[in-house]
């Protein structure tokens, strides 16, 4: 089972390595990990996508909580509806035969061209990971040069009542 955790941590030196270390020391998988400081004083938010059975996921949640620098762990599941997004930058080889097709695909996916050169486009696209996989699939035969993905970030949805 895949699971997304958001972890709010003290923005201290070494906190990223404590988390990475926890996963490697206990043999848990990290599929993607995203970290950046957030608004509040000296906090960072990490989004970790991981995989495991129910027991392992429960342990991961507890172990993350146990770290002294952890302030809060949010675990998303069906009971905790959430939005997730990922951003990708995709650099494409271009020539006269592919430019139009690339633009069409980017348009369908509501992406943006953020950099252009003689024979390349750099595309920015945001969405669910599935959406990003889908655009990559379509672009693949047209000549991808380089890909950078952020990994997922996630946040719980507010209740609608």
């Amino acid at each position: 089972m895949k699971r997304i955790f958001s972890v709010i941590v003290e923005n201290e030196a070494g906190v990223l390595s404590r988390i990475a270390n926890l996963f490697s020391a206990r043999g848990y998988n990290i599929e993607s990990l995203n970290v950046a400081p957030i608004n509040e004083l000296n906090l960072s938010r990490m989004t970790i996508v991981t995989e495991g059975d129910e027991n392992i996921l429960e342990q991961i949640g507890k172990q993350l909580n146990k770290l002294i620098d952890t302030i809060k762990v949010i675990e998303y599941s069906d009971d905790v509806p959430y939005v997730e997004r990922e951003m990708a930058l995709i650099k494409m080889h271009t020539d006269s035969s592919t430019r139009a097709e690339i633009l069409r695909i980017v348009d369908i996916f509501r992406g943006k061209i953020v950099d252009v050169s003689q024979n390349s486009y750099t595309i920015e696209v945001t969405g669910s990971s599935e959406k990003i996989n889908a655009i990559l699939n379509l672009l693949e035969p047209l000549g991808i040069k380089e890909i950078a993905r952020t990994g997922k970030v996630a946040m719980s949805r507010e209740s609608k009542q």
Partner: protein
């Protein structure tokens, strides 16, 4: 000159505020300033060990025997790496330590400077938490946090790495009285609803069983455990770490369970209908084959560390909280009536039957000295003294666990989780510093003793009441036992007949020592050792190929014990 202090002086002031009396370690270039500050004061005594591993184990023995935080101070680089085994040992057994390491000056960090190691990185997974102090202004608060984190919640070792320039820089000194960390708030009080539920389950159980771990000692909950056992007539076993948390001489005591546990304890686990685990973590040495562990039981698990709960086995009634507080609450609502006692008779009779079928036993001999005989005799001769007994790791450790009856907590010191050979001797010395009026007996294997015997120098310096008894089989006995039972008697690299003459070696340090090779001399020799006022080393040549039984082979269910 305002009220500014140097980092090194701040270090001393903080330790005083924390009530530290003893520091164990070895100096070096990166902490010479701290040692200079130590030299200039009288409140804290520095114990100069001969190896940093010994220093950390001493601080550990100090902590285990008192419940206070043990403190060690070592230099950067090799001093710090030498300390790692000690730190990991304390981590696995949840022992509160603060270990200070010197570090190269901040401007050299990351340069592969002389005696630089990234000790914070190295110890990340074997400390509860660790800190690198980069600014003298953070020093006092970091030390405060280190002690607070070490002793609260599930205790553990905390490392504080102090670069040389932080020790020499100055700032105003202020030590906070209280501390609050927004990211660290252990849960002490158990969920009241859950405690009520558990009270019901306990009242209804026909064959309840208490599973007592080291957490009971940490939380000082032994009285509450005893009250629970007595009021509801619930038999109790302990883990290796829980030894002493339940009186071994009590009629409801089943001794230790697990790989070398008693027959009755292991059978009781397999037949109980309610297993009440308090401050234990279902280690594989206790459970045997997990899928066949306690197959008939519902499980209650009281523990301060949520990660311990449902880690290895599924728990039906988890309670996260401090054992003492949870038990107090539980005891206040439990009903104990005669009906419970009557129902219990059948269960206790069954246990009695198991005990009479296969009690802990060994075949004594007049020709050779049996290790179990030595421990039983020591038990008899020292009962009134209420001593502390520290062990190394191996067969001798298990014989102490089986044949020495501990009736009080903090009397049995042993490396349970990590199983560190070389722990017992320095830990015993540390316990002697903390308990100068008590006798401390170190029961050592000949192999383990050789891992930290350089600390004889500390014994010789301080003339402590630390008495070392070597159960000498000239084997790495525990490994040899496995080779005998499971590897066709191929004794690969376990024969250690080449060893120092421990008597002469001790004497070379000025320590009284004796050797016993004949059974008829054992009692006399033990008596002399007990009555001697000061350190003493007794080398007892025991039956070389004695085995520890019962034994549950690794990975087998508890019911499959090898009995003899």
């Amino acid at each position: 000159m305002s009220g500014k202090l140097k980092g090194a002086e701040i270090f001393i002031e903080c330790l005083k505020k924390e009530g530290v009396k003893h520091l164990f370690g070895i100096p070096g270039g990166a902490i010479i300033d701290l040692h200079d500050a130590i030299y200039k004061q009288k409140d804290i005594e520095f114990i100069l060990t001969r190896h940093e591993q010994g220093a950390v184990h001493m601080a550990d023995g100090y902590a285990r025997s008192t419940g206070q935080v043990g403190v060690s101070l070592v230099t950067s680089g090799p001093g710090a790496t030498n300390a790692v085994t000690g730190i990991a040992t304390a981590y696995m057994d949840s022992i509160p330590l603060v270990v200070f390491t010197g570090q190269v000056p901040t401007h050299l960090i990351g340069n592969d400077a002389f005696q630089e190691v990234d000790i914070v990185g190295i110890t990340r997974s074997c400390t509860k938490h660790n800190f690198l102090v980069k600014d003298v202004k953070d020093l006092a608060y970091t030390i405060k946090k280190a002690f607070y984190i070490a002793r609260t919640g599930r205790p553990g070792p905390v490392l504080v790495d102090i670069p040389k320039d932080v020790q020499t820089a100055s700032c105003e000194f202020e030590y906070p009285d209280a501390i609050h960390l927004r990211s660290y708030n252990p849960t002490y009080h158990g969920n009241p609803k859950q405690i009520k539920k558990v009270a019901k389950v306990i009242e209804q159980a026909e064959r309840p069983l208490l599973y007592i771990g080291g957490g009971v000692i940490t939380s000082n909950a032994h009285k509450e455990v005893l009250e629970l056992a007595e009021r509801l007539q619930i038999p109790a076993f302990t883990t290796l770490m829980g030894i002493g948390a339940f009186p071994a001489d009590h009629p409801l005591s089943l001794g230790m369970a697990g790989m070398h546990g008693t027959y009755k304890a292991n059978m009781a686990i397999q037949y109980c209908d309610l297993l009440i685990s308090i401050g234990a973590r279902f280690d594989d040495r206790i459970t045997g084959k997990v899928s066949e562990f306690a197959p008939n039981a519902q499980v209650v698990h009281i523990d301060i560390d949520p990660t311990s709960i449902s880690k290895n086995i599924k728990v039906d009634y988890p309670i996260v909280g401090d054992a003492k507080l949870v038990l107090k609450e539980l005891l206040s609502i439990l009903k104990d009536n005669n009906k419970i006692h009557q129902n219990r008779k059948k269960w206790l009779d069954l246990i009695k039957k198991w005990d009479s079928e296969h009690p802990l036993s060994y075949e004594d001999s007049d020709k050779v000295i049996k290790p179990q005989y030595v421990i039983q005799l020591l038990n008899k001769l020292t009962k009134e003294l209420d001593p502390i007994v520290s062990t190394e790791v191996g067969q001798h450790q298990m014989w102490v666990a089986q044949f020495y009856n501990f009736n009080k907590p903090r009397r049995f010191l042993t490396s349970g989780g990590l199983g560190t050979m070389g722990f017992g001797f320095p830990a015993g010395i540390g316990a002697s510093f903390a308990n100068p009026d008590k006798q401390v007996f170190v029961i050592a294997g000949d192999g383990s003793f050789q891992m930290n015997l350089q600390e004889l120098a500390v014994l010789a310096t301080y003339k402590l009441q630390t008495k070392v008894i070597i159960l000498n089989n000239s084997y790495l006995g525990m490994v040899r036992q496995w080779q005998q039972l499971f590897y066709g008697r191929r004794y690969a690299n376990t024969n250690i007949e080449v060893q120092p003459d421990f008597v002469k070696l001790s004497e070379s340090y000025g320590i009284i020592a004796k050797r016993v090779e004949d059974k008829k001399d054992v009692e006399q020799a033990l008596t002399e050792l007990i009555n001697y006022n000061g350190p003493y080393v007794l080398d007892i040549k025991i039956e070389r190929e004695e085995n520890v039984y019962p034994m549950v082979p690794g990975g087998a269910p508890l019911s499959e014990m090898i009995l003899t």
